[in-house]
Amino acid sequence: MSHDPKTSFQGLILTLHDYWAKHGCVILQPYDMEVGAGTFHPATTLRALGPKPWKAAYVQPSRRPTDGRYGESPNRLQHYYQYQVLLKPSPPSLQDLYLGSLDAIGIDPKLHDIRFVEDDWESPTLGAWGLGWEVWCDGMEVSQFTYFQQVCGFPCQPASGELTYGLERIAMYVQGVDDVYDLNFNGGTGADRMSYGDVFKQSEREYSRWNFDVADTQILFRHFEDAEAECQCILAAEPVDPKKGQAIVMAHPAYDQCIKASHAFNLLDARGVISVTERQSYILRVRTLAKACGEAFLATEWGGGPAEK
């Protein structure tokens, strides 16, 4: 099957993998939890903290329940893919590296109008912010380009560069189709052709119904409370393994619970059951968890704390 991004969705992903692997990234797999954006992957959130150099690239399925359209909108999806690259510290030629990746997937900057338009990124729930741009290709936002300044409430020392590609949009662009469901997924032709619609249209319909009408908000509220409690409990535990006496800070397990709480909040917010005032307090609760997780991570070996034996 083809690896050409112009003829297949998976070709686009494979080309980006290939490109970033050549530039020294570890190619990771999606994180096995529901998230709203690729930034939540611990390979970005946690690894952006601490002094150690780190380069990673991965695809992250991302869920935005309010964007569900029952499979009927040509460009809105409640589940879609982000391609995420994190480079720590940000290399001096990050813009050129990024443009090189566009070239690799067939976007020629002499033919297309590529623009860096101011867009400062902030995630109130993660206590994170950075400066950067939305990258426009012929008026369409194709990527988010951010120099992280703070994550989990802690300054990024050194600063990382984060690139997020909206894969479906880019694929529609390079394949020249107007409806996301018409994307060629596998590059096959004739009977072998699998479209994005073949892969996802049915599930989009199912999730739209569930998100809008069926998801039980009481259960979601409970999930939020449980995850919050569990996160706090993990972090409160003695940072030493009682069996071997070895020092182990459980930053990652605690952060998983923070992700869960954050996602439950997103779902509740999408259902419109959180009032404006309550909203602030939920955001603050998630941020408090994120901050505690960041603090824990900074005490671990990869966070720049003492090496574990």
Binding site: P51, S73, P74, N75, R76, P89, S90, P91, P92, L94, Q95, D108, P109, K110, L111, H112, D113, I114, R115, F116, V117, E118, D120, G130, L131, G132, W133, C137, D138, G139, M140, Y147, Q149, C156, Q157, P158, A159, G161, Y173, D178, S275, V276, T277, E278
Partner: protein, 707 residues
Amino acid sequence: MPDLLFELFSEEIPARMQRKAAGDLRKLVTDALVDAGLTYEGAREYWTPRRLVLDLRGLTSASKDVREERKGPRTDAPVKAIEGFLRGAGLSSIDEAETREDPKKGSFYVATIVKPGRPAADILADILPSIIENFPWPKSMRWGATSSEAGSLKWVRPLQSILCTFGPETEEPEVVDFAVGGVAASNITQGHRFHAAGDIAVKRFADYAEKLERAHVVLDAERRKDMIRTDAQNLAFAKGLELVSDEGLLEEVANLVEWPVPLIGAFQQSYLDLPDEVIRLTIKENQKCFVLRKAEGLSNSFLLVANIEASDGGKEIIAGNEKVVNARLADADFFWGTDRQQIATEGFDPWIEKLDAVTFHAKLGSQGARVRRIESLAAKLAETVEAGAALAARAAKLAKADLNSQMVYEFPELQGFMGARYAQIAGENAAVAAAIEEHYSPLGPTDDVPTGPVSVAVALADKFDLLAGFWAIDQKPTGSKDPYALRRAALGIIRIVLENKLSLPLIPAVKAAYDQVHRDAFGQDVTAEIRDGGLADDLLGFFHDRLKVYLRDQGARHDLLDAVIDERADDLLAIAGRVKALGEFLDTEDGKNLLAGTRRAANILAAEEKKGTTIAVTVNADLFEVEAESQLQAAIAKAEKGVSDHVTEGRYDLAIPFIAALRAPVDRFFDDVLVNAEDEAVRANRLALLQSIGGVTAKVADFSCIA
């Protein structure tokens, strides 16, 4: 004399920040050079998305020597004192100092210290790094490996290179030797990101600008704007269309490109059925494109400005932009359809009910409660503004309903506007629809003010409720902090009242607003003590402050404002009328003389009061000795009546001539009458007469405040 060329080249600077940053750069550099003792002939700044540039001409090549004399001790002073003087002045022996004689002090030492001038290049190398390090960006960031070091360089986006050449026109300029954050100054710049590859070495401004132009960079933002304007108009004209000019958008777009290439695209004809405002917003705000007009209205073409001369002439760029605009309009069309469907089947009620579930402010209850307050207040105000109470209440009830429409959820800027469209569809009264749209106005100091009576009633009610609410829970603006835009709300009321010439006493309106908001906020009626004993007065004072700022901006004299506004003045129109009438009067000969006369009277009275001189309680005509006295008394009595009659009507313009008539008798009084008569009773009587002048003028203004 040598010229300086200074370029700070970085990754893309936000469009809105460039102009100010370039101006700041010029000011910071020229100020620092002047402080260091240099002069220059001219300086001009330039900017593009990737560079801030300073072209500074005719800089003096070195600062002058500075000689400074330092006085020392007497020649017969102890050795220790003399040694200290030598150390302080940097002399190696006392022979280098000069001896001077002073008739009183005797002979003493003087040292002349010479601070030698410095070459301009050295001064530049000194001052430029700290200007870069402390540059006033609204937001700045760290990047790269050095960002982990405390105190590492911050810039708006990563700073890539610094170009800094200095030298006379006739010679090869030198590179000023300095480095900041690991970036060393050089004579190298870069051209357009996609049209020119590689380093470009430059000497001075002329060849810099020329080489950049060849490298597809138009340095001057004004020229980029002109290019866009001209090309855009020509392109539009060729298609029989007209460009809807938009200076704000033009400024932004010109700062998103180094090489502007306008192109025309089109969206699906059928989307023209959407409200124009929706199309405009999508194209302008989201896509930074210009809308185009044809004779009968908006066209489905739009104008975009690319940053490259594409190898296919722009076909792909146009196709890409069309796709995005179509997708966005498709979304808008979907929301527009859903909303209209809901209005047709269920009307506004579901949206209004939903307002109860939205918190307006934790202490002030829901959006629904606020709407109910605005509703009853609008009905009360309706009478004053000659609107029907039922219409005003209906408009207020619907005013915020569109916040729950899909369209406003997606385009928050369209609040009010969409509500009005939906009201039209629902067959509401035209005045109600207009009021829904206009009740947020005026938003800025130059924004249009609503004029229809129903719109005015709802707009006023909305703002009175807002102000009374935040005053009730003590969240008034402080300093630069005004998170609920309460100053804007007060200014809005002021402009609505003045521009519509409404006689609307503020105190009753404010109290009515308090009564209801207090009930909602605290669950009980406000006590008269709280309401009248401070809150209303305090808010009135806030209105006075905003009114002063507003009228001063309109050119009114601040002393006249002080002269006219007293603590209880709550009729904005009357205050403005008084200030105007008084200002005009004081510009006349009569006004100037009368002011001089009242001042003279006040001075005499103040001086006599100080001395403890008796002033009669009333004026006694029997004690008059000169005709001017009785004439003045008669004039005052006449003025008193005329002024009182008109002031009660609020007609200060008509009251003023009565004050003006006092001028001649007051002048004659001072010419003919000696206030300080020998007879104590006569003197006390004359002082009383003087005092009564102030009594009349005070009805129009406090003349003692007038400068």
